[in-house]
């Protein structure tokens, strides 16, 4: 899928994230990790495994269940020269601590006119598909991307996961790093094999703010991120069987948003479908469509479409949740209607 050397190690996203953190902790004593069950347990989603054993409890800290407390503490530590990586276990919990995130973490650089900085990473799990219901399955990409002052990224595969984590830790700005549970490579969550990729051992960065054309095509542009990319790639495979050539864009980063890559693609294909597991309205899908149409509506040969999660809380029952989730068939159906 990506143009990477093939004789390397295949890592899950979970391992890729942990490896990036480990390498950055080795490189830079200012980096430390905090969150619930991230020390001995290795992170509920496996993304901090091995760190505690390597760096000990001073730099790999289990916290009380006090998200406001430890995330605002991370802000204070970052402003004092550290580079904390904190975990909000599920993004769905953001409501207990969002003030620390968007009124402190995201705004203090601005409030200081750039004299202070808040170099921290907030990593958080997103996504459903395994029946964890309405308070443990959301994506909330739009919620985070809407508010200024924080970068927002979400990898679709292990290669990007490692490079984005490294870039996020090295970034002098706050970065929200959203990882999709079903891409983690944790079997117990059901896992998307396409996310497990060859990943170089040595440290490298993936640029924050740059989208990737992960499949070139000429007939329709499919735009997504994280799990959306895999759905789009599967739809593209099926469409290819019918001779339809879909271009697939992995946004990788929502803030900054690489509008140009999307605009250029649609200028070529004339057709746009946005795939988003976040709620339908007032989110990512609307923004992408607006980006393309406000730039030059005449480039569109058909009305753009979106395949998103409907505006309802995530239902628990498997058949209901699956009914709501984006999938390749829905993408194909959207294309057929164009």
């Amino acid at each position: 899928m990506l143009d990477q050397p093939t004789n390397e190690r295949r890592l899950t996203i979970a391992r890729a994230m942990a490896e990036a953190m480990q390498q950055e902790m080795q490189r830079d004593p200012r980096v430390f990790v905090m969150g619930e069950d991230i020390a001995g347990f290795g992170g509920i989603f496996g993304n901090t495994r091995g760190l505690f054993e390597k760096f000990g409890k001073e730099r790999v800290r289990d916290t009380p269940i006090s998200e406001t407390g430890f995330i605002s503490a991370a802000v204070g530590a970052a402003m004092d020269g550290m580079r904390p990586v904190v975990e909000l276990m599920f993004v769905d919990f953001f409501g207990v601590c969002f003030d620390a995130i968007y009124n402190q973490m995201a705004k203090n650089a601005y409030f200081s006119g750039g004299n202070a900085s808040v170099p921290m990473v907030l990593m958080t799990s997103t996504g459903g598909g395994y029946s964890d219901a309405g308070q443990h399955s959301q994506c909330l990409y739009g919620t985070f991307a809407h508010l200024p002052g924080m970068k927002v990224v979400s990898p679709s595969n292990a290669y990007d996961a490692k490079g984005l984590m490294t870039a996020a830790i090295r970034d002098d700005n706050p970065v929200v790093y959203m990882y999709h549970k079903q891409l983690q490579g944790m079997g117990w969550l059901g896992t998307e094999p396409g996310a497990t990729l060859n990943t170089p051992q040595e440290g490298y960065t993936v640029e924050i703010g740059k989208a990737k054309v992960v499949r070139a095509g000429s007939d329709v542009t499919l735009v997504g991120l994280a799990m959306g990319v895999h759905n789009a790639l599967k739809a593209a495979d099926k469409l290819a069987e019918e001779g339809v050539n879909a271009e697939v864009i992995d946004l990788v980063s929502l803030v900054p948003l690489d509008r140009e890559t999307v605009i250029n693609s649609v200028a070529k294909t004339g057709r746009l479908i946005v795939i988003d597991e976040d709620y339908h309205s007032y989110g990512v899908s609307g923004e992408i469509i607006a980006t393309v149409t406000e730039h030059d509506v005449s480039k569109l040969k058909a009305s753009p479409a979106r395949v998103t999660f409907p505006d309802v809380p995530i239902p628990y029952a498997k058949h209901m949740e699956q009914f709501c989730l984006p999938n390749p068939d829905k993408i194909i159906a959207a294309y057929r209607k164009m």
Binding site: E36, D37, G40, F41, I44, D62, T63, P64, I65, S66, E67, T68, G69, D92, F93, G95, V96, G129, Y130, S131, D132, A133, G134, Q135, H136, G187, W188, L189, G190, P310, D311, V312, P313, P315, Y316, A317, K318, H319, M320, E321, Q322, F323, C324
Partner: protein
Amino acid sequence: MQPTKEQSLWMYENMVVSRRFEEAIEKAYLEGKTPAFNMANGPIPGEMHLSNGQEPVAVGVCAHLNADDIVTATHRPHHQAIAKGVDLKRMAAEIFGKSTGLSGGRGGHMHLIDPAVNFSCSGIIGESCGPACGAALSRTIQSKPGVAVAFLGEGAANQGAFHEALNLAGTWKLPVVFVIEDNSWGISVPKAEATAVIRNDVRAAGYGMPGHYVPGNDPHAIFDVAGEAIARARKGEGPTLIEAETYRLAGHFMGDAEQYRPKGEKDALFAKDPIPKMRERLLAEGCTATELDEIEQRADSLVADAITFARESDYAPESDALTAVFV
């Protein structure tokens, strides 16, 4: 305050129902999840937090409540729901995601809401506290009887929502009782590494309310302390904070390898399993084995009926996912 024999047997029965229910859920949960454990599979998908071992707190408290009283519960809600009288069939059906479930399958195991007995719960830590205050306030404003009980874990007592709710309750002298189930673990983090004090009852003084710690995971002791607190609330004398020691015999959720548990901890806890302990106590107090066997059999069949009901019920149409967002 000591339970009557009837109350003792009620507590015992509800503890047994609760345990049997968890055992049945555990079994069903594992269907379709072997050889590879994938939460998404089987008749009960998603996270599952069992309450094995924590029954004494739920029954000791709820023995004093009636359907009109309010309980707000946690992400680990089954024992609390059972003790509060939530319909077992509809609860089982909900956990199986069926149309006959409490919400028709929309909510699931962490979102059991049963208005008939004023029961609700939430998967967000600490979230039980505020709504209990609000329900209590509602009764105060309306001059209607009723006490609200918020259950929470000892880990949740470090969440801001706990503090705000206790202050509200203390300031407004609300008829609410906060009950902390101290199983000494918040997932893999021990209480001592997350909490600045050894016992949370000392925090009560910061909210102008009495605080009690109940050691021993003992239904009778909990019955005693909770009884005083609930009576106090009913008399309009304000809120109470109770922390009760309890044991989590299961993992945090199903699939938890529990490598964080010190060696031998589980064995020691199983040796103190509150259900056989209570059976012994009841026998010592003069109950007959037959009496208790009958209770156990009744529990078995209640649970079996509920599981059968759940399994035999239909799924709601998938498009029901789109309804009931608004009423």
